[in-house]
């Protein structure tokens, strides 16, 4: 479980930018939480606090009850919370896929025969077993990102934080990654998923909306995405099915409230 208590984070630049301005939330084991927000709303800064890549300027973060700011807890925190970033090219360290996946567990000091097994299972989990001996540079963006995810899985974390993992991918790569994320969640991992893509956030169980360094909404995707005025005010696109339902209601169509998907709109129009 992750508990964030009134966290502020001020970047030590000339203008002392306040990136997080009193954030509190709790993320339970096994949850799939999406975090959305415009550029500069603080979502990536918050993500980097979960595994102590950044420490709060004030406030506390507890992972399984352990304070991330205490040096003696760092090992537990980093071991249990994996991170996947936007650009797979900057995460890949080795010249061969399986070496890359083995990098994390090797650093944990795990016995070589156990590493072998973990790497095989991790590559299997991301459907990349056939690429063990490939050079990562020969893979597509989506495949590289899957290798980066395998590297995190091989460390056996309880939580994976994804910071816009699909931003640099094409539509097919995005579909691959989202499927992977849903499968990992179904297997019991806690997922924290930061994204610009509303249709991806809509797959989560819970959505946190960030604005100006604060969490301004914490609700189900349906409640958040069907609130069109609020979505626009915060600078988000409204899902097309939600927008179209609004337009049709204005034309006199009697439609149920809170239609979220095209399938729901199709049923309502039958």
């Amino acid at each position: 479980m992750i508990r964030v208590e009134d966290v502020r984070h001020v970047y030590k630049t000339a203008d002392e930018r306040v990136a997080l301005d009193g954030v509190s939330c709790t993320i339970d084991d096994g949850e799939f939480v999406a975090i959305i927000g415009v550029n500069g709303s603080g979502k990536s800064t918050l993500a980097k606090h979960f595994n102590a890549l950044l420490l709060p300027t004030s406030g506390k973060i507890f992972v399984d009850g352990l304070d991330t700011a205490a040096a003696e807890n760092l090992w537990h925190v980093r071991k249990n919370i994996g991170m996947v970033f936007q650009n797979p090219d900057s995460e890949i360290v080795a010249a061969i896929v399986e070496d890359d996946v083995a990098f994390g567990p090797e650093n944990l000091g795990i016995a070589p025969e156990m590493i072998r097994q973990r790497v095989d299972l991790a590559l299997d989990a991301v459907n990349m077993s056939g690429y063990k001996n490939f050079a990562p540079s020969k893979l597509s963006g989506g495949q590289k990102q899957r290798i980066a995810i395998a590297g995190v899985i091989a460390m056996r974390p309880k939580v994976i934080v994804f910071d816009e993992p699909t931003a640099m991918l094409d539509p097919q790569g995005r579909r691959e990654i989202l499927q992977m994320v849903k499968r990992l969640h179904a297997q019991g991992l806690t997922i924290i998923y930061i994204t610009h893509f509303m249709e991806e956030a809509a797959q989560a169980q819970r959505v946190l909306v960030m604005d100006g360094g604060r969490i301004v909404r914490d609700d189900t995707p349906r409640e958040i995405f069907t609130d069109t005025n609020e979505m626009r005010r915060l600078g988000f696109d409204v899902p097309i099915a939600v927008e179209m339902s609004d337009r049709l209601r204005k034309r006199g169509f009697k439609l149920p409230k809170k239609i979220l998907t095209a399938t729901e709109l199709a049923e309502a129009l039958q």
């Binding site: 630049t13 000339a14 203008d15 930018r17 927000g37 415009v38 550029n39 500069g40 936007q86 597509s140 963006g141 816009e164 931003a167 640099m168 094409d170 539509p171 097919q172 790569g173 610009h196 600078g235 988000f236 696109d237 097309i240 099915a241 927008e243 179209m244 337009r247 049709l248 034309r251 006199g252 169509f253 009697k254 095209a262 399938t263 709109l265 199709a266 129009l269």
Partner: protein, 289 residues
């Protein structure tokens, strides 16, 4: 005008790793046009724009820009290219210096450079006060705009944009597109797999699949041909997907168009009640509402 004639390109020619990236591509781009190049990763679109900007040498065929071959260094002043994630290429100490880099290289006077920097910052919607900030203190969206301003500052007649809005949030994206596409603007080659952007912005679309040009036409013509999109591994824009989900076989480029089409296909209650169905227990359907 840009003319591309019978262009082909093969990587690692004469080795066992030989890979054909482009096969016999021909098209023109008229002055003032917005031409989109769409295709899946590996379709050859990056190779094509690198050839058009003279960044890699032609192997076969010809590309001419205003009658000059791309091999001629003079085209460098006519063609601006904005790569994916251009913010990774920022390197100067201040925003102003970074934007001034190319006009300075072209030997413009200091006043002219300063005027160009101010104008380019305005064009991409960057606050003039940021001129003396370090680009590395800015947000991702602001850095992107600094990088694009650096290209606009030398006033290229042709602008090649490679996924210019990737990673930007909706307001930043809208802002940038408005700044780049509102007239007066350059002749634009837009590389994108975002069909929504192509629908709204492009006059014509060239679709590449495995290095071949499999379609040239307007966005409207393209979206009427599902088989082309499937073959190229592209997704129709969200409005089209919505129409398909509603079982409507029609082409719409915008939400406005889609709304009218849906309204026509599903007349509102109570008129949309099938006339053959007798009202339940004698009540008229209106009363059920």
């Amino acid at each position: 005008m840009i003319s591309v004639r019978n262009v082909g390109y093969t990587y690692m020619r004469g080795t066992p790793f030989e890979k054909t990236a482009l096969k016999n591509i021909s098209f023109d781009v008229a002055d003032g046009e917005v031409v989109a190049i769409a295709g899946h990763t590996g379709s050859g679109k990056s190779t094509l724009i690198q050839l058009m900007a003279g960044l890699i040498d032609l192997q076969s065929g010809a590309i001419e820009i205003d009658g000059l071959s791309v091999a001629d260094g003079a085209i460098r002043r006519k063609v601006g290219i904005v790569f994916q994630y251009p913010e990774h290429q920022l390197f100067e100490e201040t925003v102003g210096d970074d934007i001034a880099f190319s006009p300075r290289n072209f030997g413009l006077s200091d006043e002219e450079i300063s005027a160009r920097v101010t104008e380019a910052m305005r064009q991409v919607g960057l606050d003039a006060a940021l001129k003396s900030s370090s680009p590395f203190e800015l947000s991702g969206g602001q850095r992107r705009r600094v990088a694009i301003a650096g290209i606009l500052a030398f006033k290229p007649k042709y602008l090649i944009l490679d996924e210019p809005t990737a990673g930007l949030d909706p307001p930043a994206k809208e802002n940038l597109l408005r700044n780049l596409f509102d007239k007066p603007r350059a002749t634009i080659i837009l590389v994108s797999h975002n069909m929504d952007d192509i629908a709204r912005l492009a006059d014509r679309v060239i679709v590449l699949a495995q290095g071949e040009n499999i379609f040239t036409g307007t966005p409207r013509q393209l979206f009427a041909r599902q088989e082309i999109l499937r073959r190229a591994g592209l997704e129709p824009p969200p409005v089209m997907k919505l129409l398909h989900a509603l079982g409507i076989d029609a082409v719409a480029l915008t939400a406005d168009e889609a709304e009218k089409i849906i309204a026509r296909n599903h007349l509102p209650h109570p008129l949309n009640q099938p006339i053959t169905r007798p009202p339940k227990d004698g009540r008229s359907p209106e009363l059920d509402a």
